[in-house]
Amino acid sequence: MAGKVKWVTDIEKSVLINNFEKRGWIQVSDSEDWNFYWMSVQTIRSVFSVDTGYRLSDDQMVNHFPNHYELTRKDLMIKNIKRYRKELEKEGSPLAEKDENGKYLYLDFVPVTFMLPADYNLFVEEFRKSPSSTWIMKPCGKAQGKGIFLINKLSQIKKWSRDSRTSTFVAASSGKEAYVISLYIDNPLLIGGKKFDLRLYVLVTTYRPLKCYMYKLGFCRFCTVKYTPSTSELDNMFVHLTNVAIQKHGDDYNHVHGGKWTVSNLRLYLESTRGKEVTNRLFDQIHWIVVQSLKAVAPVMNNDKHCFECYGYDIIIDDKLKPWLIEVNASPSLTSSTANDRILKYNLMNDTLNIVTPNGEIPDCRWNRSPPREALGNYQVLYDEEQAQSESAERDLRSRSGQSLGPRGARASSVRPTPATWK
């Protein structure tokens, strides 16, 4: 090993800086030589831009893929998932199987969504099919619940398009301020009468082959106000949105727990009240939709070898225990709202760094991306395409030679196959 890692960040968060300092790494400015740059999505754009961008050398590493927005912008994610489904369908893949109503059996994991203004006519057609439904409007490029509102009448969207024509809607044609409109999940699973969503952390170290890890310590974010699906409450955003950034403005925000409940609490509650089998199936499905969303964007992702990314997945569970992928964040908040939150995020960064910079040494972009099990910390392997392929090859070989595979052979390294999700 030669020397210490030189790090830069433009996100001054203690959970990051403490982790760098703990490793004895040296802080430098972005104009100096650096090895490790934890940057915001704004910075990554300029690093890889054609005009100002520079060539990264083999000992440099950054925390975003150049075109991460293929996954993390709401409209592009939907576009990529739709394309992925079509391709699978064309290939005649069993994954693209549909039920009698024309719904995908295994790929129906995002709420029905349209781009606005581009898909306006398609949306109107869909809206008329079920006029009592509620829809949620989100600006494509914004995070933390900004600019979000609900509608349940066509007149509302007409009014919005008139009102915004002068400002945002014009810009929409240039692709900057486009909106997505999604069918609102109006039967969310309620716990203690409250609505929540799940925030899960997923680390991707390479897209081709896909290698991704799920962080075990995700959490549920609870609305502080009771959930009522009545339309009179449509304007009360606290009821509907679970983003901490929004909830913090509610009167009931509690600074001890911050409305956050660990995934292990969720599991204990669901196993206790609904049973172990359905709970396992739910978590298998959640893992399944994360992997499918990554596979959907893998072909278009610029799989730059200097990059890794830690995503914040937002998932809503409905009252039939079906998980829905709502969106993926490229820069999940590293701000700590409570003491537990700080511990969680510190550990998240620690475990992330342990995987992407083995032994805290100077990065080498040609690294094998196969961390030993003991380096995973609270991460678990979600999917390892390389290993899955070699295992299936091995399985073929074994079945040909008449050997049987151990019962738990393939499990550790890939998503646990269950009859419900895997064919």
């Binding site: 009468g193 609490n265 172990k276």
Partner: protein, 479 residues
């Protein structure tokens, strides 16, 4: 019993009730059917006296709060107020009334002082501290089990028996015990056998079966009449406003609402606890509880015996931390009526013993004494050290035991502990765990030099694994 007989007549779950009836017969001392009722409650006169004077204190404190704040003990809500309450029944937690004037009637700390001052007038405990005398704070002579006796009474916790909470986490062979245990558990649930469920619970209940198993052990049904009973209590809450409602409200806000595990269930806690305070069926348990329900007079009829009423209607005055008896159950039952039934049964079987003065082996006095004796016998150096620096162990462990560890352990671990309380129909395991926690942290505790430092060592119990701790303490300690 009445309820039980009725069910037996109905021919439903006959065997279970029969078992309880037999138990009832045997629990009466032969030939003493005419024993005065207070002996059923508590045979020792000095305990009865201490309990009565403690009740007086609580009542005085409640009355003075009433007078100070000018709030009546109860008043009927106006039609408008009733309507409002009905509307916000499911979201009472969003309300923020000003409760700054209300304070909990008492906290576990106050209760501990009372227990420390308990003396048996027939017993001389004036001798100096020596190796044979008791070093602890509890100075009454009660028979409590030592480790060899615990081993006999709790044989299923031994090393040779499979345990959920231990054997489901071993790597090799993977889930061998668990798979079989779950299979048996499903059979027990299917056969609706209460006695078998209780025996089964001694080795721990699988998460997915626990709700059904506990309801079975406690003979809690989920019949339409149970739901109806709950609805009746609910309407009683809606009609009358009680002073204790404020205490409940305040307690939930101070405890569960700030708890990482339980804040989600805030509204369920109000729904259960407000109904509980109106439930006169709870009064039946005072036939075997050393406590006596507090009495109050109807307005303007002070001193007239005919106009006394029990207050609150269930006879139980909540104290600081009371809502933590309900909170863990919210993980198991998501229908308020069922949650309510199970909580009430848990209360009248176990929890009342944790805040009334009695000589019962599951009573808080015995638990405190058992905890101190276990420590003194098996960790004398530690006990001596802590006593010398002014950190009496009971001062730290008391709050855990009063709540049966609710709010101190992580919920999964707490439920494993409560499995055993139900399985052995005894709270003694709580005292054993408190001692086991001290044993587990003994090394660090030997280094502290003050009560505050000792408290800091034992501040966070949420990472403890209770079953291994108990097993090691009870079965691997050299005796």
């Amino acid at each position: 019993m009445r309820e039980c007989k009725q069910r037996a007549l109905g021919g439903y779950r006959k065997r279970k009730c029969y078992l309880r009836y037999i138990f009832f017969l045997f629990s009466l001392p032969p030939g003493h059917t005419a024993a005065p009722p207070q002996h059923m409650k508590e045979p020792l006169a000095y305990m009865r006296k201490a309990q009565a004077s403690w009740e007086n204190r609580i009542l005085k404190s409640l009355n003075s709060m009433c007078t100070e704040l000018g709030v009546p003990l109860a008043h009927k809500r106006s039609t408008q107020e009733q309507k409002e309450l009905i509307n916000k029944w499911n979201e009472m937690g969003t309300d923020e009334p000003d409760l700054s004037h209300f304070r909990p009637v008492y906290a576990p700390k106050d209760f501990l002082e009372v227990l420390i001052s308990l003396r048996n007038p027939n017993h001389d405990c004036s001798e100096q501290a020596n190796s044979r005398s008791h070093w602890g704070l509890i100075q009454v002579p009660l028979g409590v089990r030592d480790i060899p006796e615990m081993r006999e009474a709790f044989p299923e916790l031994g090393m040779m028996t499979g345990q959920l909470g231990i054997d489901d986490h071993t790597q090799v062979p993977p889930d061998l015990f668990e798979t079989e245990h779950v299979r048996v558990g499903k059979r027990v649930v299917n056969e609706q056998d209460s006695a078998a469920a209780q025996q089964y619970s001694r080795q721990g209940c699988p998460t997915g079966l626990r709700a059904d198993l506990w309801a079975l052990i406690l003979n809690c049904t989920n019949e339409p009449e149970d739901v109806m009973h709950y609805e009746q209590l609910k309407s009683a809450v809606i009609i009358h406003d009680l002073l204790v409602d404020n205490l409940i409200y305040k307690d939930v806000k101070l405890t569960a609402s700030n708890d990482d595990y339980y804040f989600v269930f805030e509204d369920y806690l109000y729904q259960v606890l407000l109904c509980f305070s109106r439930d006169t069926a709870v009064l039946e348990h005072f036939s075997y509880n050393s406590a006596t329900p507090p009495k109050s007079y109807i307005k303007d009829k002070q001193g007239v015996e005919d106009f006394t009423v029990v207050y609150p209607p269930n006879g139980v005055i909540p104290f600081h931390g009371f809502s933590m008896y309900v909170a863990p159950l919210c993980f198991l039952y998501n229908e308020p009526a069922r949650l309510y039934r199970v909580f009430r049964e848990m209360y009248v079987r176990y929890f009342f013993r944790l805040h009334s003065i009695s000589s019962s082996p599951s009573g808080i006095v015995s638990l405190c004494l058992q905890f101190e004796k276990l420590l003194q016998t098996h960790l004398p150096q530690l006990f001596y050290h802590l006593r010398e620096i002014g950190a009496q162990p009971l001062r730290i462990a008391f709050k855990w035991m009063v709540r049966a560890f609710s709010g101190y352990l992580s919920t999964d671990q707490l439920l494993l502990l409560w499995d055993r309380i139900l399985g052995y129909d005894s709270l003694e395991i709580v005292a054993a765990l408190a001692a086991a926690v001290f044993a587990f942290r003994a090394e660090n505790l030997m280094e502290v030099m003050s009560l505050a430092a000792a408290e800091a060592v034992l501040a966070d119990l949420s990472t403890l694994k209770v079953m291994p701790l108990l097993q090691i303490f009870l079965f691997a300690t050299a005796i």
